[in-house]
Symmetry: C2
Subunit: 368 residues, 2 copies
Amino acid sequence: MSSPKQVNIAVIGTGGVGAVFVSQLAWLAKHRPSVHLSLCYIAMIDKALYHPDYSEIDIDTAVSTLESTGRAPPAIPEIIEYLAGAPHKVIMVDNTSSGAIAESYPQFLARGISIITPNKKAFSGNYKLWQDIFSAAESGQALVFHESSVGAGMPIISTIKELVQTGDEVTRIEGVFSGTMSFLFNCFAPISNTGSNAKWSDIVKQAKELGYTEPDPRDDLNGLDVARKLTILGRLAGLPIESPSSFPVESLIPKELENVANGNEFIQRLNEFDDEMEKEKNAAEKAGKVVRFVGSIDMASKQVKVGMEWFDPMHPIATLKGSDNIISFFTKRYGAMPLTIRGAGAGGDVTAMGVTGDLLKVITQLRE
Amino acid sequence: MSSPKQVNIAVIGTGGVGAVFVSQLAWLAKHRPSVHLSLCYIAMIDKALYHPDYSEIDIDTAVSTLESTGRAPPAIPEIIEYLAGAPHKVIMVDNTSSGAIAESYPQFLARGISIITPNKKAFSGNYKLWQDIFSAAESGQALVFHESSVGAGMPIISTIKELVQTGDEVTRIEGVFSGTMSFLFNCFAPISNTGSNAKWSDIVKQAKELGYTEPDPRDDLNGLDVARKLTILGRLAGLPIESPSSFPVESLIPKELENVANGNEFIQRLNEFDDEMEKEKNAAEKAGKVVRFVGSIDMASKQVKVGMEWFDPMHPIATLKGSDNIISFFTKRYGAMPLTIRGAGAGGDVTAMGVTGDLLKVITQLRE
């Protein structure tokens, strides 16, 4: 196969995922000599590094050079103009969680710039943006891949796409889509009775201290992250979901704490509401079940929901450990027993791997 | 992306998987109008259908036309000669389990004919054939995909390839790789104590009646199917495994029954050996475990093995149901908790889907 000889790479975002991706890119550049990967643009929130003549930036030292010599980044239209003028095909890797960049994907794609990203925003925003992205990709003959937007490096997006593209019919999707929620509930309601009796507020506090939550845990507890992932999977399965707020999402933020000033104050006052969570846990236990925070999509009824549900202790969702995700696809071909994928759904290494995996796919599909 | 406008498809084998594949191909031809999929050759064991001018065979009626008008199939070198002369790129889909066709893959590939197959033989034969296949693919600029050779339509091969190609390091692979073995042990040693006390020989008999075993159950019980799958995964992970017989494989065929005439006689006499299996099951139970038939690869010690092992009743391998497969990849990036994929690892629909999924991948990567 005659892959392109050279591909230009632009990287936006050098945070947790971005920095690891750049190191994986460096590894790839050394181990995939059939395609020359030329880094032509790299940027962080307030700095950018690039050369008007598209000359190559050394990948190994890119992040430190950016930090020491980067200038103020250009506006997004200027970035697009710059990349569209490059002498070879360009792949823009968006490792941010920026809504503004997400909204500009159609402009990148329409100019023939392919996009790879773990950023959920674009694919779980309003449905019009979703449509614009894929029609721009078609008109610009560009590719857009976002494996890490659900389940990090696990083969979730590629699997549901293949099910649909080969003519299978997805009937139901269910699972634990948030590493934070997984950790919280696996600690709070362990399947063995010998488990801890720790209070909900103490577990949330511990999770925050371990770095398993966002700086403000309410950003996990509001269920929006799970709702965004379901929006993406539902759309790929064929449901034109309007937005992550167009279906019921159970928030675990007590009403009284919705407006407290910050995450620390939230954590300090959360114990006032431990009884409510304890009640839910005990009710589940009395029914011989354990409580978990799950998302599900039922294709026939078009019902999408996010919230607490009870599971038999032998159910794969109940036996999950640590902060693992689990996602099950029920389809016509798989019948009563779903195809299930389980593992780490967050973390820099595995999220970056999903991005690097997408890069390999884009490279093999791109034509000069 | 400018995919090829036309791709020629040759299908060998129209049995359980092959017939379903042809129906999925018909679906695909109607739903993927960007590439014209032209069936130019179709064959079963004693018949072949093709035209010297490569004119198209109607996919919808191909199998019945083959059955009614097919002639004796040409020898493999003639098939290769015919396909290599086609006016567009050719993909040969081998839906047989033929060793002779598998051994000729290098000749197909060297002539630029891409190969897609669920046939394990080629990838789990001797290591020289493995090397010949991939070097012929490179010299012929052809592609070779075999997702369904392990775990049917589940993303097993694609996942391990991506782990390796993005620079992750596989440390251990373990799982239940045989739907038959899964069914037998899930019935024989269920995790709940209220489970059946059925005898081993009765379960094997029932499995045979349900069509879950090969016509002669010894072809499942000898462990070779599992050994072949481990050979493939081990090689993809980087171990140059010489053959499926170069590591310990526990056979569940009693020595005394190795040479009985056929499957029926085997089934009739198997109850003489129920005590041995009962002993294993009880010993595991006394240790608070259940017995399962698993395969594993430890990359550091280069140890590959297939056989019975004991698992905690909460272990994902123990809680497997029906005839599901489960395969776990332990890697450097995933750390202590593996990436695990579970679901149907056999059956016409899902095996054919893996083949059709590979076809989509090959199409997007092929160049005119």
